[in-house]
Subunit: 352 residues, 2 copies
């Protein structure tokens, strides 16, 4: 079984290193990890944020462990050379269309949220975000309007099969949980959303046990503040999912603890091919100082074990070790503690 | 001076009634109020959500007091006949391009927010949302993809002059406050946002005293949870503004208290032509029962007095009466109280 390790930029390398140590410590037979450059680091070394060799290593693997991309040095490059294109390119080239982001407060950490503890403590949801379509990948560019005005434009769209594919993932996810699904769109304004809603309603017929609700995105942003505990599974498109999943993550208190999976269509020997990354970014301001919390990346590695390698019990072990570390009060700076990157890695290893 | 009163659907008529009583009680000379149908109510009576007579009354006024539109009976109508088209149509036809939404917690109500009181209590911001462009008004429809798949699409775009116009409003707003402006976009993915950012940077040169910052929309959604008190003025496009302004509103604790102004380009005798509406919707579930809190509409009327009629001291009087009513513990159901619509209206009138 092959894991591609793509550390990337900023704090990416240091947090990925700890996750790799955790995987190694499990002593699994037949695991091969291969590292490859990505993002600004790859651009600086090879002139492209997603070099062909990296894409090949990623596509030949069973699962990808991804750090973070983003580098202020690269902000003025042409769009196709910027670090962000590496993650967008991987998602598209490898058909990683289903982004799963669980958000749940770790026991004992309720007081770290900006939300009142009883509101934060009730959060237990998964956001299912589509990753291969929407305004992210439509035609885009600059044009001159009739009056000579310069205009920027981006075409938003979704096709029936794109919506159907992600809707099935969301309904299946809901079936494994509390069987409530909230589909978020802006059907009162957008035809893309109208099609989205029509298809979701159609797919719902195959999952009669799941209670389906539709919500406008502006209302969803309100409800995620007011009563985030009411959500079970949230299904949404690429753009709204980008916004709402980050909002939901922050409700939990620290983005230093949150993992994500981006699953594709291909089946591996024991699961589904996917890319796993912490939801935090490259945090250039604290990069290279050993200050970043590696837990989100370690938990991403656990998701990789579970979803792509079929090693659920090993995933449980890793998650339990992280929870124990937190419960023992080993907290990173993101949680008001003082533990550094390797110290947290060591603490998790000790509890495996 | 003419005020067009457009009550609309659901709780719109009952909350608007109280705001009209408040304006009447001020005993201003030369104020003429004219009511006109809008939304689902107008569709049911006249076959169109924004009848030509209503548009005319609105366009000949100095300011529009708007209740709410939205009626579940109309959800399956063709898009151009739905109630929402009334507000979208008014914004576009009357060039009401600048939506101002102040968000600030009323003294003593900090505990009503889902945010911790110290986080909620620090909120004091204005969101400036563009209302005439973006994916709201671009080409949209359904089409068949190469593989026969049905597709919904909507074109997002902004022109230089559209961005420049709203950027000036935001910078001027910031000059009258703490002189900090945060422009929100998704320039790492969207060309519309890249143009937006370029133009905002250009306009900033005319306001050297304003500290300008750019933030991606996903990060903004996080920061609005984590530390909403850090924002002063937030500038953003139509779609992101729809989401973020609702999110920010909810941080304040109740959307039953929040007013908004949508300003146009035309100058009236004493101010700027505009439309004023509560940010809450038509709430069909409690319509007609006298349960809705009319304060957001009363505060919208105060904004109308200030911005369109140049009656700042009368606006202050109304706002002070509302604040006093709240401080005296007259709370609507949205705030855990028992006061009904007319009871709250009476209480505000008594304190004028
Ligand atoms: C880096 C950026 C292009 C990306 C996105 O918008 O999808 C990020 O915000 C995310 O959510 O993974
Ligand atoms: C009713 C709807 C079309 C409208 C919008 O999206 O602009 C509303 O949500 C608002 O924010 O005023």
């Amino acid at each position: 079984m092959k894991i591609a390790v793509l550390p990337g930029d900023g704090i990416g390398p240091e947090v990925t290193r700890e996750a790799v140590r955790v995987i190694e410590a499990l002593g699994l037979p037949d695991i091969e990890m291969k590292e490859a450059p990505v993002g600004g680091a790859a651009y600086k070394a090879y002139g492209h944020p997603l070099p062909p060799e990296t894409l090949e290593i990623a596509s030949l693997s069973d699962g990808i462990l991804f750090g973070a991309v983003g580098d202020p040095d690269c902000d003025s490059l042409e769009r196709h050379l910027r670090p962000e294109q590496a993650i967008l390119g991987l998602r598209k080239a490898l058909t990683l269309f289903a982004n799963l982001r669980p958000a749940k407060v770790f026991a004992g950490l309720e007081s770290h949220s900006a939300l009142r503890p009883e509101v934060a403590g009730a959060i237990d949801m998964v956001i299912v975000r589509e990753l291969n379509g929407d305004v992210y990948f439509g035609e885009k560019g600059f044009r001159t309007a009739a009056n000579g005005d310069r205009e920027g434009y981006d075409v938003m769209s979704y096709s029936e099969s794109e919506v159907r594919r992600i809707a099935h993932v969301a309904f299946r996810t809901a079936m494994g949980r509390a069987r409530r699904l909230c589909s978020v769109d802006k059907a009162n304004v957008l035809e893309t959303s109208q099609l989205w809603r029509d298809v979701v309603i159609e797919v719902a017929k195959e999952y009669p046990e799941v209670a389906l609700e539709h919500m406008y995105v502006d209302n969803a942003a309100m409800q995620l503040v007011r009563a985030p505990g009411k959500f079970d599974v949230v299904l949404t498109g690429n753009l709204f999912g980008d916004i709402l999943s980050d909002q939901a993550s922050m409700c939990v208190g620290s983005i230093g603890l949150l993992a994500s999976a981006s699953l594709g269509e291909r089946q591996t020997a024991h699961g589904t091919f996917g890319l796993y990354e912490p939801i935090h970014g490259s945090a250039p301001d604290i990069a290279g100082q050993g200050l970043a919390n590696p837990m989100a990346t370690i938990l991403s590695a656990a998701m990789l074990l579970r979803h792509s390698l079929g090693l659920a019990s090993q995933a449980d072990r890793v998650e339990a070790a992280v929870a124990k570390t937190l419960a023992d009060g080993v907290l990173g700076r993101d949680l008001g503690g003082t533990a550094g990157t390797t110290e947290i890695g060591d603490a998790v290893l000790a509890r495996l």
